[in-house]
Amino acid sequence: MKKAAIFIVEDEAIVAEDIRQMINTLGYSVTGIARSGEVAIDKVRETRPDLILMDIHLAGPMDGIEAARQIHSLFGIPVIYMTAHADDELLERAKVTEPYGYILKPYNERELHSVIEMAHYKHGMEQRLQERERTIRALANAIPDAMMLLDRQKQVIAINETMAQRFGRNADQVTGFPLAEFNKDGSLDTVLRHLDAVIEYGRKVQFEQQDRGRWYEIALYPILDTDRSLARIVIQYHDITDHKEFEAQLSKEGISRIEHNMEQFQILNDQIRNPLQAIMGYIDLDCARFRPKIGEQIKKIDNIIARLDHGWVESEKVRSFLLRHYRPDRENMTDGNKHPSEGGQT
C-alpha cells in the first residue's frame, strides 16, 4: 500500500506544525494544513488527500465534527479525530460521522503511526469492497437477462435492474425482501413452486413461460455451500421471444417449401402421364406388332411416376403434421377420418 497523503486540520499553529513534522518523520506526505473547518473543506477539495487528521475543537463557527461530516459525505475521505479530552457527548456525536479512528492528545509517534495505518488500511479495504460490489452490480446490470439471487428463505439477496424492473421497482426496493411479496399478479407462481423443489432437491430447474406477451426461458440454479448444502438460488429469465418467432417463421417457411414442392410434383406427374396416355393411344391405333413391348415400357415409366406419387403422399403427411403442430388456425385440414359421403347422410 502506498504511503498515505495526509491533510491536517488544527487551529493551533504550533500543534499543527508538530504534527506535520511527526507525520513527515513517519514517511507520510502532508498535502496541507487548515485552521478552520471551512478552509479545510476547500483545501481538501483541491488536494484530495488520502486521510484527514481532524482536531475536534476548532476555532470558528464549524467544529471538527461538522467539518468531518461534510468532508466524508462530499469526498468520501476517511477522517481521524484528534482530541485532548473526550467527553461522552462529544464521542457520541463523533461516532455518527463514522470516523476511522481517534487519537487522544497528547500522543506519541507510535500511536499516530498505528492509527493512521489502521485507518488507511480499513479505508482501502472498504474501497475495494465497494469497487467489487460496483463491478458485480455493473456485470449483473450489463446482462440483458433478468437475474436475482435468493437465500434458502426465498429472500432476495441481490437482484439486477432488469429483474427489479419486472417487479416495477429498483434493485434497492427489492433487496432484502421475500420474493413472494412481488407476486401480486401471480406471475411468480410457477417460479415459487419450482423454487421449493430446487431447495428440497438441490437440482437445477429450467422451463419456458409466456409472460406479458414475451417468452422466457426461466432457470433456477442451486448454489451449494462448501459442505454441499444448498446456500443460495440464482434465478434467471432469458428472453427467447425472438428465438420462438424465428422457429415459427422457419416452420412456416418449411410448410411453404413443402407445399411448393408438392405442387411441382403434381404438375410434373400430370405432365409426364399425358404423353404416356397419347403414346398408348397412338400405338393402339397403328402399331399392332410392338404394342405389348411398347406397353411394357410405358408401364415402367408409369411405375417411376408412381414412386413420385408416393413421395407426394409422404410430403402430404409431413405437411399435415406441420400444419397440425404449427398452424392451429388451419386445423383438421388434412384429417383423414372424415368421409366425403358422410355429409349426405344427415
Binding site: 410434383f265 406427374n269 405432365q271 402421364r273 396416355q277 406419387d309 383423414g336
Partner: protein, 205 residues
C-alpha cells in the same frame, strides 16, 4: 348413341380420346379448357363429361363446381381424368360430385366399357326416381336414397383405387349401406341389389 364431352388442355389427349371414343360408338365433343366446357354446356348437354384437372386458367375442380352449381348441368355424370394423384382434401370435398377419378394413362377398351356402364346406371336411376315419384313416395326419401346410393358406389371405387392417399373409415361405409338397405325397404325396392361397381382405372396394358 351416347354423347360425351372431353375437357383437356393437351391436344394429343383430345385427339386420341376423340378417335377411340368415336370408334367405340360415342358421339364426342372435345374442348381445351374449363371455360370452353361451360360455354359448350349452354347449348349441348352430354350424357357424360370427362374432365381433366390440371388446366389453366380454370382447373377441373373449378369447372366441376360450376357444373354442379347450375341446374341445367347439375345431374350430368362427371369423371375426373388426371395424371396426378388426388389429394385427400380433393376427394373429401368433391367425392360426392364425381362418378370416378381415373389416372392416366388408361386403357381405352376398359374405359369405353365403364363409360357406358355409368351412363346406363344413371339413366336407370333417373327412371327409377321418376317411377318412385309417380308412385307417390316422399321426395326427400327418394333424394336421400339417390344420394346415398351414389355416394356408396363412388366411395367404394375411390377407396379401392387410392388406398394409399385416402385413409377411409370402413365403418362409415357399412353404416351407409345399412341406411341404404332401410331406404330400399321404405321405397319398396328389392333389398339385394348391389350398386354397380365399374372396373375403370385398373390399368390393363
Amino acid at each position: 348413341m351416347y354423347t360425351l364431352m372431353l375437357v383437356d388442355d393437351d391436344p394429343a389427349i383430345r385427339e386420341i380420346f376423340s378417335i377411340f371414343l368415336k370408334k367405340t360408338g360415342f358421339q364426342v365433343h372435345v374442348v381445351p379448357g374449363g371455360k370452353e366446357c361451360l360455354d359448350f354446356l349452354k347449348t349441348t348437354v352430354p350424357d357424360l363429361i370427362l374432365l381433366d384437372i390440371m388446366m389453366e386458367p380454370m382447373d377441373g375442380w373449378e369447372t366441376l363446381n360450376a357444373i354442379r352449381n347450375s341446374p341445367a348441368t347439375r345431374s350430368i355424370p362427371v369423371i375426373m381424368l388426371s395424371g396426378k394423384e388426388p389429394a385427400p382434401d380433393e376427394l373429401r370435398q368433391y367425392g360426392k360430385w364425381i362418378e370416378d377419378y381415373i389416372m392416366k394413362p388408361v386403357d381405352f377398351k376398359t374405359l369405353a366399357g365403364s363409360l357406358t356402364e355409368i351412363i346406363e346406371y344413371h339413366r336407370n336411376m333417373h327412371m327409377e326416381v321418376k317411377r318412385l315419384k309417380i308412385e307417390g313416395f316422399d321426395p326427400a326419401v327418394i333424394d336421400e336414397y339417390c344420394n346415398l346410393r351414389q355416394t356408396i358406389v363412388v366411395s367404394k371405387k375411390l377407396v379401392h383405387r387410392f388406398r394409399d392417399t385416402w385413409r377411409v373409415n370402413d365403418d362409415g361405409i357399412r353404416m351407409q349401406e345399412e341406411r341404404l338397405r332401410q331406404l330400399r325397404v321404405t321405397l319398396g325396392l328389392p333389398v339385394s341389389e348391389q350398386p354397380g361397381d365399374s372396373q375403370v382405372g385398373k390399368n390393363a396394358f
